[in-house]
Amino acid sequence: MLDLIDFKGWLLVIIQTWMFVFLAPLLVGWLTWLKCHLQNRRAPSLLQPYRNLWRLFHKDVLLPKHASLIFRMNPYIVAGVMLIAASIIPLFVVRMPSSATADVIVLVGFFALAKFFQSLAAMDIGTAFGGMGASREMTVSALAEPAMLMSVFTLAMVAHSTNLSTVVETLIQHGLVLRPSLLFAFAGLVLVAIAETGRIPVDNPSTHLELTMIHEAMVLEYSGRMLALIEWSSMTKLMIYGVLICNVFFPWGIALHHDFYSMFIGFIAIASKLMLLGVFLVVAETVLAKMRLFRVPIFLSLAFTLSLLGLLSYIILEVGS
């Protein structure tokens, strides 16, 4: 087991977590930049998300008249949860002391916690949009969560562990094995990630169209630094899903030892993997149109079926009798 009182390890955790959080807007900037270029528009600079956050942090906070404590606490809770969640994901190095404290099921729980408070805060002020957005978010997440857990269980069965760090390490040690189960789990997790981070075809992060928005409807009443925190945490969530997909299914390059050289390689590896993932995501978003809200349950049931198939094909095809 990992040594919990490991000073160097905890220092690495802190560095990695802050890197995670501060690089998340850059990933969003990269996606926007790519998307603009694909659609023949003039792209904003890669640093534009940072500027937006900076601007929001320096604006005054306007609170609705009837806002209760939950509404005011929510941005801090959501941001805190995302920060903790980011600390347990291996970004460029495995075997960190923080990964021994929480496994991937706890990660799913963290996301549920953030969503719970977000929906409560959206309903708190009693506007129509808040309630509508909260109900939609809950619908989506209630369907996405079982699919994500299924795909996580597939991983856990392959690696015989639910600990993310151990999963990544085991998969590297297995080398190149063509596993049908991981292919299905990968496809299922990608669909869940698209739904959970509110990208096209489930939700469109760049519009505020009343009839179709899900996530944006919940945060309409926020302003100033509170809005900045919420936007930042949704960027971090996108980054978490991206890193999770890259590192678990394509773990090659991640540092297994805590020395400078392999960590540098690990950093380059994860940066290029995320850039490549961004290209795929943006191409998919450009090709696809946003689907009707009532088609989202079918989309998510496809994700569930894929994850279930992953689980089944592990048992049927890979273990043998």
Partner: protein, 225 residues
Amino acid sequence: MNIMSLPLSEQAILLFAGMVLFTSFSLLAQPRIVAAIRMFAWQGVLLSIVTVMVAVDTGLHHLYISALLTLLMKAIFIPWLLHRLVHKMEFQREQDILHHPVLVLLAGGVLVIFCYSIALPIERLGNSVTQPIIALSMAMVMLAMLMLITRHKAVSQVIAFMAMENGLFFAAVSATHGMPMVVELGIAFDVFVAAIIFGVFFFHIKDSFDSLDVDHLSSLSESDQ
């Protein structure tokens, strides 16, 4: 038999077999007829790829001929024929009605588990790489049957019927490394004729009811008068 102890080529067989099963699921969930035809064609392509890989792995030459037959019939000829019929009847944008699509998908998952439990004793008999695929091929037959009973349009029922035949072929490849050549040629000819007869029937159904919904067939014409 663990997948890690197999060579990469046999792992690839299992991977593609899994993908064939996935095409069965996506056929089950696909309400658009043109997209379902396309998915059926992909199933044929994947099936012939698996057959070729099994042929390479076992060194059985007659499997190459079956793979070629599958590719020509299931991946090119039948999809092309169905496509042409759909275009002729101007049904390109037609959708089948799917009641409870989520429930149907879950039932599909249950069927896969059922088939696995049934195929388990058969798998224990041998230790060839294709033994675990028997469960998948039985599941394909079952899934196609589920599609057959949940659909209303004649075209998607025909696709389901052909997908069932795909499952049987897959079972033959995985359990006994293919059927005797005479049987295989006979089945190919049967499928060929069936596809053409189905095409004629489509036109009859469409002429009589102005739609391809087979529910119209169950109401007696006398009772309307």
